[in-house]
Symmetry: C2
Amino acid sequence: MPKQTVEEALRHADINVDASLNRLFQLLRIPSISCDAHYTRQCHEAASWLANELSGIGFDASIRATTGNPVVVGHSKQAAGPHILFYGHYDVQPAEPLDEWESQPFEPTLRAQPNGETHIVARGASDDKGQLLTFIEACRAWKATAGRLPVGVSMFFEGEEESGSPSMQAFLDKFEQELLADVMLLCDTALWNDSVPAITVMFRGLLEEEIRVTCANRDLHSGAYGNAARNPIQVLAELIASLRGQDGKVAIEGFYDNVVELDSTVRDELLKLNFDAEQFLAAAGLSQSAGDVSYSVMEQIWTRPSCEINGIAGGYCGVGLKTIIPCSALAKVSFRLVDGQDPESIRSKFRSHICARTPRDCKVQFTGLTGSPASVIGPRSPYLDCARAALRQEWGCESVLIGSGGSIPIVSIVRQRLGLESLPIGFARADNHHHSPNEKYDLYTFQKGIRSWIRILAELSRCTTDRVEAEP
Amino acid sequence: MPKQTVEEALRHADINVDASLNRLFQLLRIPSISCDAHYTRQCHEAASWLANELSGIGFDASIRATTGNPVVVGHSKQAAGPHILFYGHYDVQPAEPLDEWESQPFEPTLRAQPNGETHIVARGASDDKGQLLTFIEACRAWKATAGRLPVGVSMFFEGEEESGSPSMQAFLDKFEQELLADVMLLCDTALWNDSVPAITVMFRGLLEEEIRVTCANRDLHSGAYGNAARNPIQVLAELIASLRGQDGKVAIEGFYDNVVELDSTVRDELLKLNFDAEQFLAAAGLSQSAGDVSYSVMEQIWTRPSCEINGIAGGYCGVGLKTIIPCSALAKVSFRLVDGQDPESIRSKFRSHICARTPRDCKVQFTGLTGSPASVIGPRSPYLDCARAALRQEWGCESVLIGSGGSIPIVSIVRQRLGLESLPIGFARADNHHHSPNEKYDLYTFQKGIRSWIRILAELSRCTTDRVEAEP
């Protein structure tokens, strides 16, 4: 791949950034919220939009139905050289709480900052619509200048990542052969900092449970029954309080039993990053970690499992006060899992823990939501080397290997099903407010992302086509 | 008062019960929810409706503005004999959860039961619209037959009882002289059972607090921050768990300090009732009391203070799961107080308890809602004797003196401000689902209530007009 060809693709991307941004805005305007069935139509709309865009740049693109939201698949195959599989997701988190947004979550806005930055503000701006478009726009630039991509590329975009990817297993069962490739690229991750790109080599797994505690057969008058009737909010509060010890550890028996401690070499690599825990907490308005003090904050969030209450509801919380003892209360609980923890085994231990502590006259109902194990990516691969070379060219510095406390189920699924190694390279920043009000993506990193992928595609063409098998 | 005159009034009430019921339905159709400012207009509408009804039966009726919902006042004065003050409230609790109602909460429905009973189903059917109408309809029967009431009567109906009567003090400041009377009657109470009427001689006080725990400056991604960021739902759960001991006692330091133990004579009276704790719990689908086991269930609900969580909310509880650590969580807490407990002192102890247990990086905000002390009514009064004689005539048995775990702030306010003893006599049943979905009032007790008040008004005319001062 002559250097001049790469430069032409980069120039094309730079000149046409407004058009790229315009396409991003189109996608951001579609409220493709996957966890709420009211937005199913919009999820389909986002899938159609993506399929059209892929077709427009010469991909053989189509929409594949699943039992949930559809998957968009596009191919641009080549006779020789490595074949790349690219993954992204077009679904987003709900926008609530709506009143904390400074602009409409699904009406993207460019907001100039005092420091000269420009923010693209919308739900999904970063997670994952802005990020996945960096790859599509990189392909567009190649097609527009060289007439073809440097390597064969297949893309697939799912619409249920924010809901734990429940349809992915069945989808891969059906289309496994079609998606065979040499390596998977994905972009749902972050930069190390504004000037240093990162490749994420570990993700935590995710296990979700809903728990409902029911006591009386109806809401009771708190005057008539107060003291005598068991209050399900009180019971639920006691159950939740029992999940964490004062030492910050998860207090479920056997929770840490099979946890694989981090490889010391990798741990040393991570420690070299000089993760600034104080700044990390301060960015969220906090000054003190709530986690297990025998681990650093970086380890707590990347390499240690957690238990979080994501939502709680019970009784009357409207204006004023309603003097009831409600009949039931609900909590949404999720666990971030690490290497060695089996989601279904943790689910079972959680339920046993709760049942053992549920008083008489109380009924506990569990609703098991999805679970996916953690994934750890092997640090040695020729594709990794090529990607790091490309990032070095674009950013003028060495990229770093980092961990992520988040969960990208597709990484472990693809490894198990297709035997494919993944290279998660993304251009988000820590302050992008993922899953929060006023989510944003930096216009600068949007452009740098497009440019980085242009270079990565060029570098990957140097790799041999031997399939890289995932480490056992 | 000749016996025949009473009989004529009773017959008139019986013959015209359908018209009485029709008027009740009119009032029930007005969603006069006081705790939610969205229903202010409907509260005014209910007040107007009542003033019109009082005028229609010859009362000098008017609506008095307060800083909250208006008070309806009506007078039917007489030159001689005792003067009675009657109190009721036209406001109701919110109807939520709406999906548990079998019919629309503000579209009253008559529902025939397999056992031959007929239920009037609507929010407020019993608490307090159905009950207060029994008194108005009794007055109507007297006016229609004898042309006048047996005693002088003033009525006042407030519109904020379900919100702790915040405007009552100021209202009484202004209209104290106008409301002077010999005794206050009120009807927001229950029968002992289907065939035995009761006069309620003790009410618990009520103290309301809202507490919001805030940790991070926004909702956080539970992958990015899970373990490290303090979770306000977890904190709130631990705070709530700390409010009650495993022994069922409220665990706030000094909570029981000034509690006046029940007078042993009154306690013996109450014990003679053979309160059926098992049946009381079973009616709510429960089998075991959650309260302090060193007291009987009857004592727990009538004579012991309690702490209840009436509502809790935080994070995302919609469809699916949103993987956030929310920035804040909220609980509505209320206390039922007994004789000797000062509401503001308990409020202060509660807040100290919470603050002492709030971890670093957490902010707790308290919103103090209303507080009213408990009230205990002296068991010796000529008005009480007259009322019991009337109830004996109507029900063919002796009435009983009982306690109530609920709170009727007006009883203590009127005692403090006007020096007036109260006689709380009501015709609700324990299974009327006060404050719950499918609230109902029995058509039978609605009729018996009207008849009972017709007789009580007649009997009260025998009393001397010496003002009965409240016991110190």
